[in-house]
């Protein structure tokens, strides 16, 4: 199954749930397990939250989510044109956070890494950030309807 979608939405926290639901719907044709769906939803939620909170600092902006399926390989990109990250390596360290406030756990990138097969972060200060994630959806030994 090959397919791709691109969604552009406002950087507001209401759209975190929207992005999760969209990616879950997008991946259903390859019969993912509930766990795989939960993993991808979590990773997308983290990346979109980062774009809203850190990319745009809770200010106005647009987030782009690109998803592609090539057979069983799911490719996701979350992009913003916000303030970018000075030191990507440092930002990806577990528990590193620039805030705001004590409520950010600093685990966003760790979760993306844990729940996806591959994670790549490209960023330019002042230009924005692109998070690229990939995951292979395992073959299910179930009697799912063959066309």
């Amino acid at each position: 199954m090959n397919n791709e979608i691109k969604l552009i939405f406002d950087a507001i926290s209401e759209n975190e749930a929207f992005a999760r639901v969209a990616v879950a719907a997008f991946m259903t044709p390859v019969n993912p397990t509930l766990e795989e769906i939960a993993d991808v939803k979590t990773a997308v939620s983290e990346a979109v939250t980062n774009a809203i909170v850190h990319g745009y600092g809770d200010g106005p902006g647009k987030v782009t989510m690109y998803c592609a399926l090539r057979d069983k390989r799911l490719h996701i990109e979350i992009m913003d044109t916000g303030r970018g990250i000075e030191d990507v390596e440092q930002a990806m360290e577990p528990l590193f956070t620039t805030g705001p406030g004590p409520e950010r756990s600093g685990m966003g990138f760790s979760f993306m890494e844990a729940f996806m097969d591959e994670l790549r972060v490209e960023s330019k200060p002042g230009r924005g950030t692109r998070v690229v994630m990939e995951k292979t959806i395992a073959e299910l030994p179930c009697a799912c309807g063959e066309d």
Binding site: E16, A38, S45, V53
Partner: protein, 108 residues
């Protein structure tokens, strides 16, 4: 928000929402803190019975509340955590502070 918080002796019981993300977390933490400051809260029980989704923002909610009560010997508990919530608890290292009461998610 009515019914989300309940005091049982010095335990604050929090019925967690269906989805805990950054969008939900801020108001949840704020409301919980009102109880923590206003009532005689010693320990906190997070009830995940309704929760179908949680990301690292939920971890922030638990850790943030724990920090507020830990200096007075308070403990945090989780009940009714499903498999997804248990995975988040494990991957995040929350298990070090969060006492799991019934691990229905772990019966494989």
């Amino acid at each position: 928000m009515e019914g989300r918080f309940q005091m049982l002796e010095n335990y604050l019981m929090i019925r967690m929402p269906e989805e805990i993300d950054h969008h939900q977390a801020a108001s949840l933490s704020k409301d919980a803190d009102r109880y923590i400051l206003g009532e005689q809260v010693k320990h906190i029980v997070f009830d995940f019975e309704d929760t179908r989704f949680m990301d690292s923002s939920g971890v922030g909610v638990v850790v943030g509340r724990y920090k507020k009560i830990a200096c007075f010997g308070g403990r945090v508990y989780a009940v009714h955590a499903n498999r997804q919530i248990m995975r988040i608890i494990q991957v995040s290292g929350l298990k070090k502070i969060l006492h799991i009461i019934d691990e229905e998610a772990e019966d494989e």
